[in-house]
């Protein structure tokens, strides 16, 4: 019951900043349209002629899907790491774990909303610019058609995968932020450790991103389309949800007891 009340305030907060997210998505896609699709559409046929459909798909996915999704994930999840935003809610007679749950639900809902909006926009771009141009090149056309037809499942799994990446970052964040020894150490040491973690996280993200790209660029995507049955997709989804919960546990356990919020 109380978690619903908390979610209500989480919803109000995120609705309040909806215009920022919507304007961001709009401006980004407008820039992509003006500076990428319109000038590049003339060159697409030569790309298809060189039989470079796969690399084109990766390039387009990076531009209109992965990159904006990463930015939107940051936009949605950053609030969880902003400890003063918990402070106002500390006065209520409920544990901060519930506040965290509400924040996680709110962040995921917002990420789902904006992520799916971006996914739909990317589909529109694919339908408007790429598919019509690829008709004369059957192999590339088939690749893009297959991508579009199976992309909803791919999108759902990507959202869950990004959620799990957030949970992994939360795991490391909780370990270092709640460590009393580090809190009492000098400021320089404190910031050095945090900067190192941030660099490691960046490398980690970069590694995952590179892996995803290389998976797609090799045979992953074809394999994925051919092998991922709904049952397999459910297994992958369960793995990602379980992993997210597992990595969130330390933060959930420690958030009520070990933190300074202001």
């Amino acid at each position: 019951m109380f978690i619903l009340s908390l979610i209500k305030y989480e919803y109000r907060k995120r609705i309040h900043r909806l215009n920022i997210g919507l304007s961001g998505v709009l401006v980004y896609n407008l820039l992509v349209l003006l500076f990428h699709y319109i000038p590049a559409s003339q060159l697409l046929t030569s790309t298809f002629a060189r039989n470079e459909g796969v690399s084109l798909l990766i390039n387009e996915l990076s531009f209109v899907y992965f990159l904006p999704l990463a930015i939107l994930a940051f936009f949605a999840f950053v609030d969880i790491y902003h400890l003063p935003s918990y402070a106002f809610f500390r006065q209520i007679p409920h544990s901060s774990t519930r506040i965290l749950w509400a924040k996680l639900i709110g962040a995921n809902a917002e990420f789902f909303f904006f992520g799916t909006l971006q996914y739909l926009i990317s589909l529109v771009f694919f339908y408007a610019f790429i598919l019509p141009q690829s008709i004369s090149y059957p192999e590339s056309h088939a690749l893009f058609k297959t991508f579009v037809s199976s992309s909803l499942l791919f999108h759902c799994l990507t959202l869950l995968a990004i959620n799990m990446i957030n949970a992994i970052v939360l795991f490391f964040y909780s370990y270092f932020s709640f460590n009393n020894h580090i809190k009492s150490s000098s400021k320089i040491g404190f910031y050095l450790i945090h900067t190192s973690i941030a660099i490691l996280c960046l490398l980690f993200f970069n590694h995952i991103f590179n892996n995803m790209v290389s998976f797609i660029s090799s045979t992953f995507y074809k394999n994925y389309i051919e092998s991922v049955s709904p049952i397999n997709a459910i297994y992958i989804a369960l793995f990602l949800i379980g992993g997210s919960l597992f990595f969130s546990i330390p933060f959930m356990v420690l958030v009520d007891k070990r933190l300074d919020f202001i």
Binding site: F2, S5, K8, Y9, R12, K13, H16, R17, S85, A87, F88, R90, Q91, I92, P93, H94, S95, S96, K183, S184, S186, K187, F190, D256, K257, R258, L259, D260, F261, I262
Partner: protein, 240 residues
């Protein structure tokens, strides 16, 4: 038995202690004034009691049990500054209190909002500092069933008329079964309502006493004592 007990409480931020060896018991029926200069540890003490921070050492007990989120059913308060999230309107803040605190008196709240000209539709971030103080105080005072009120600089940035009106409301809210702790730099304005005073300096409690006993013993008002303890000693330091 005290409502709140602090036993050998220390609070350390980074390398500096904000509070050292705090032993304090707040009894029901007492209206405490927490007095001290800037940086003396008043807000740090409020932060601990309102669970914004955790003690580095020591124990805080509420009705003999360690202070936890359940204790907040009976504890109402705020710290200085603007604690409200940026997206909140006045009505959202009121809803928030109504949703989470069964002891919140909505009718009384609406009456006070009208009395102090606070429009429910306005964004809290657009309010002046004085109006933010008013809103904080209204919300906390409308928790009519609370047994502990912790008011950190409740009269911050208010004009003299509003301060006087709120002092009346604070006295109305106070009753024998509750305890109230107020920190303020307007010592002269709250002196007459205080039953007890705590003098704090550099994170350490220097003196805890009954206000009336202290006046008789030192033959001076609390505000004069405050001047003697903090202002004169500071002036002496400057002269040296």
């Amino acid at each position: 038995m005290g409502a709140i007990e602090l036993k050998k409480v220390y609070k350390k931020y980074s390398t500096q202690y904000a509070l050292t060896d705090i032993n304090l018991t707040i009894f029901p029926g007492s209206l405490l004034g927490l007095l001290g200069p800037n940086g003396s540890g008043k807000t740090s003490l409020f932060k601990l009691l309102l669970r914004y921070t955790q003690p580095s050492m020591g124990q805080i007990l509420y009705q003999r049990a360690p202070l936890n989120h359940s204790s907040m059913k009976q504890i109402a308060g705020f710290i200085q500054g603007n604690p409200f999230p940026r997206w909140m309107r006045v009505i959202d803040a009121v809803d928030f209190y109504k949703d989470f605190f069964p002891d919140f008196d909505l009718a009384y709240c609406n009456k006070l909002l009208r009395q102090f000209d606070l429009s429910p539709k306005i964004m809290v971030s657009k309010l002046s500092s004085g109006n933010i103080s008013s809103l904080k105080l209204i919300l906390v005072l409308c928790r009519v069933g609370a047994s502990i009120y912790l008011l950190d600089e409740p009269l911050e940035a208010m004009d003299i008329v509003t301060r006087n009106m709120f002092l009346t409301e604070i006295l109305n809210a106070f009753h024998d079964n509750c305890a109230m702790m107020i920190s303020t730099h307007h010592v002269e304005e709250i002196e007459h309502i205080l039953s007890d005073v705590i003098f704090i300096r550099q994170g350490h409690i220097e003196l805890t006493a009954n206000a009336e006993d202290l006046r008789i013993e030192r033959n001076m008002s609390i505000v004069n004592l405050y001047w003697e303890k903090y202002v004169h000693s500071k002036l002496d330091q400057i002269r040296i």
